[in-house]
């Protein structure tokens, strides 16, 4: 790719991405298992009453689409940050233990402590943060190099995964309750879930923009970044914390949605290059649109049954990513 192509593509991506986000918002409001006429949708949004249509549009679809947008934005931002910090385009939030920590906390809550199930988002969020802190500390040795973080992550993820599976096997008659959450989905998410995640998501996304410059410099290598005046170890720690905050927020409400954190930033990178001044906003918008659209599809395709959105994302996304990889492979 030469600079002309890249500039053209950057303009295109940054033009289309916001449009996609708005389109996915509108589509999410209009589509659903229960058909609602456009005029009723308008009515629900402007002069809300108590009819089932109003409830469906205002209390089900609207918060759900918004949660989908935020979830996708947070996951994509988290993945983008991690890929930069680890200098590895194949990094994703799972590497720092967010998914496994949240999963374990959720399994324990739902299987062993169902009387605390209303605390599920908080438990998952805490689990995500704690496990990434543990992984970071395990890899610390006067500094935490990306290689050590990955290794510590592999070890802890394996351990947590084993514990989780152990609990599920020992209480195998109870796992019906857990499976939907583990596959990632937004069924039944509403305003109170949105209000739980909104503050963390907003803070995280704003901080993601501040992270652009440090990540760009970290990508040059630890030595080069230090020589340019960056406090490398401090930045790396803060960035990983930010990434786990973002991913933890997303996972606490939406369950284990994988794939977005890895694929979206990587696909955008293949299209417009490594500069985070463009990569970050594009990933955030792209991730938001992707999850919102996927969720809309997941809840309409098999009406009245809902498909977990994590599964749909994987099934559709993997082939698309492979295609993208092949097309762009000659340019590196």
């Amino acid at each position: 790719m030469n600079i002309k192509q890249r500039t053209k593509r950057r303009k295109l991506v940054l033009l289309i991405a916001p449009i996609l986000v708005i389109a996915s918002l509108l589509l999410g409001l209009m589509a659903g298992s229960v058909p609602v006429a456009l005029v009723d949708i308008w009515h629900a949004l402007t002069a809300r009453g108590d009819s089932p249509q109003d409830t469906i549009v205002f209390d089900l679809r609207l918060p759900r689409v918004l949660i989908g947008l935020l979830t996708g934005a947070c996951l994509a931002a988290s993945g983008a940050i991690l890929q930069g910090v680890m200098r590895n385009p194949l990094a994703d939030p799972g590497v720092i233990g967010v998914s496994s920590g949240a999963g374990l906390a959720a399994v324990i809550t739902m299987v062993l402590l169902p009387q605390l199930s209303y605390l599920l988002p908080a438990a998952a969020f805490l689990g995500a943060l704690v496990s990434s802190v543990i992984i970071y500390s395990l890899s610390w040795d006067k500094g935490a190099s990306p290689g050590k973080i990955v290794l510590a992550g592999i070890a802890l993820n394996a351990l947590i995964g084993a514990i989780m599976n152990g609990v599920m096997v020992m209480y195998s008659d109870r796992i019906q309750a857990v499976l939907p959450w583990l596959s990632g989905g937004l069924n039944g998410r509403s305003w109170h879930h949105l209000s739980f995640m909104l503050p963390y998501a907003l803070v995280g996304l704003v901080l993601s923009f501040l992270a652009i410059k440090p990540v760009n410099l970290l990508m040059l290598g630890d030595d080069s970044a230090k020589l340019l005046g960056q406090k490398v170890e401090l930045q790396r720690m803060l960035l990983i914390l930010l990434a786990s905050l973002l991913a933890g927020t997303a996972v606490s409400v939406a369950g284990l949605i994988g794939f977005v954190g890895l694929i979206v930033p990587h696909a955008i990178r293949l299209m417009i290059g490594d500069d985070y001044r463009f990569l970050m906003p594009a990933s955030i918008l792209g991730g938001a649109a992707l999850v919102a659209l996927a969720d809309t599809a997941a809840r309409t395709v098999l009406d009245p049954v809902e498909l977990p959105v994590g599964i749909l994302l994987a099934v559709l996304g993997a082939p698309f990513f492979l295609y993208l990889l092949r097309k762009r492979s000659n340019w590196r």
């Binding site: 030469n2 600079i3 990508m219 005046g229």
Partner: protein, 377 residues
């Protein structure tokens, strides 16, 4: 005021070792650091720039201790081109050089100021890569990439620029381009330049001050003409060479040396305790040991007779061989077996012990000619 000074710098990290290094980098001049591989040149640079910390010792930059600089301030004072080529992101040449401006830009600035733009242009022109400014970095040749990386360090606009082997992987044309550019930089901006170079001749030709290192210590420092001598070549590079100067340019012609294999030596010591006064009997016996001088790999034989011990005499027979196999070949030979034919141990031998020792030796015979020349120095 010197550009940089180190006092008593000591570091030990596995392979890398520096011992009590007191280096002085003169301000406003070009300094070259030379020495064989593993002598600590890169380590010294990384200590000066703060990429690693010493076990002992202090570093002063422009009269101020290095610790007193904030990270950002330091980046505006000292810049370096590291040796290793780390992960290069997918950016254009201009964008790469832009990164060099980051110590001068605030965290929130999105656009480059006029000053930033000017500096970037200047850096590109100095390194003669202006025409590549919009090309993707990874599409450049090795030489052009190196120039671009130097331009990124230049964009930091520091008073002190360090370069670790800037010319090592370049062809001669690019090497000279880079060196000329550094000289221009020094003349125009009075930037202090420190570079680690392998090519002694280039180093001497282009620098004002030379520091030579060996085995983690500074061997000598000063004007290249006083530093590079025959003795210097021998001591630092362990090379025999003829040294002369054509103006500033040294001419170093190495003397081809024979292929020297590193050899080991096995010392076999046979120690016997003998009834007092009867030591000579054993010595006599060994005098008769057959034909050892004809064995392959035989390096010598000594007999040591200690008589001043109270209870017994001690006789040690030391034979030296090139390998253990050579020794064992001797013990299996006809001559040896014959001389030990009578199996019973003579009664005057109280005790007997054999030890083996392997010694790594390197032989550098001091020749007459070399002796003569050293005297003449």
């Amino acid at each position: 005021m010197t550009a940089a000074e180190t006092k008593g710098l000591t570091l030990e990290r596995g392979m890398f070792k520096l011992t009590d290094v007191n280096a002085i980098i003169p301000n406003g001049k070009i300094t070259a650091i030379v020495g064989p591989n593993g002598s600590g040149k890169s380590t010294l640079l990384s200590l000066i720039t703060g990429l690693s910390s010493p076990d002992e010792g202090s570093i002063t930059i422009l009269g101020k201790p290095a610790e007193h600089y904030s990270r950002a301030d330091f980046a505006r004072t000292v810049s370096m081109l590291p040796q290793s080529k780390e992960f290069m992101p997918n950016v254009t040449v201009r964008e790469l050089i832009e990164y060099g401006r980051s110590p001068h830009r605030s965290m929130f600035s999105q656009r480059l100021s006029k000053e930033d733009q000017d500096v970037i242009e200047w850096a590109m022109r100095l390194m003669r890569i202006r025409r590549h400014d919009d090309r993707m970095f990874h599409t450049l040749s090795g030489g052009e990439q190196q120039k671009a990386r130097i331009a990124m360090a230049l964009a930091q606009r520091t008073g002190l620029l360090l370069l670790d082997e800037p010319t090592t992987y370049l062809d001669i044309a690019h090497q000279l381009e880079v060196l000329e550019a550094l000289v221009s930089l020094n003349r125009q901006q009075q930037t202090t330049v420190v570079m680690v170079l392998h090519d002694l001749q280039q180093a001497a030709a282009y620098c004002d001050h030379m520091i030579a290192m060996k085995d983690g210590e500074i061997h000598s420092a000063g004007d290249p003409r006083t530093v590079i001598t025959k003795g210097f070549m021998r001591e630092v590079y362990e090379l025999e060479a003829k040294v002369s100067f054509d103006g500033h340019y040294p001419i170093i012609i190495p003397v081809r040396k024979q292929n020297e294999e590193e050899q080991t030596m096995i010392i076999v010591t046979n120690t016997s305790q003998i009834v007092k006064g009867s030591g000579d009997k054993l010595v006599e016996r060994f005098d008769r040991i057959g034909k050892v001088e004809q064995m392959e790999g035989f390096l010598g034989l000594e007999v040591l007779w200690t008589q001043n011990l109270k209870e017994y005499d001690e006789v040690a027979v030391v034979t030296r061989w090139t390998s253990k196999d050579a020794f064992q070949a001797w013990t299996k030979s006809e001559a040896f077996r014959e001389s030990h034919k009578h199996r019973n141990i003579p009664d005057y031998i109280l005790d007997n012990k054999i030890t083996f020792q392997e010694v790594k030796i390197k032989r550098n015979p001091i020749t007459e000619a070399a002796l003569g020349e050293t005297a003449a120095q």
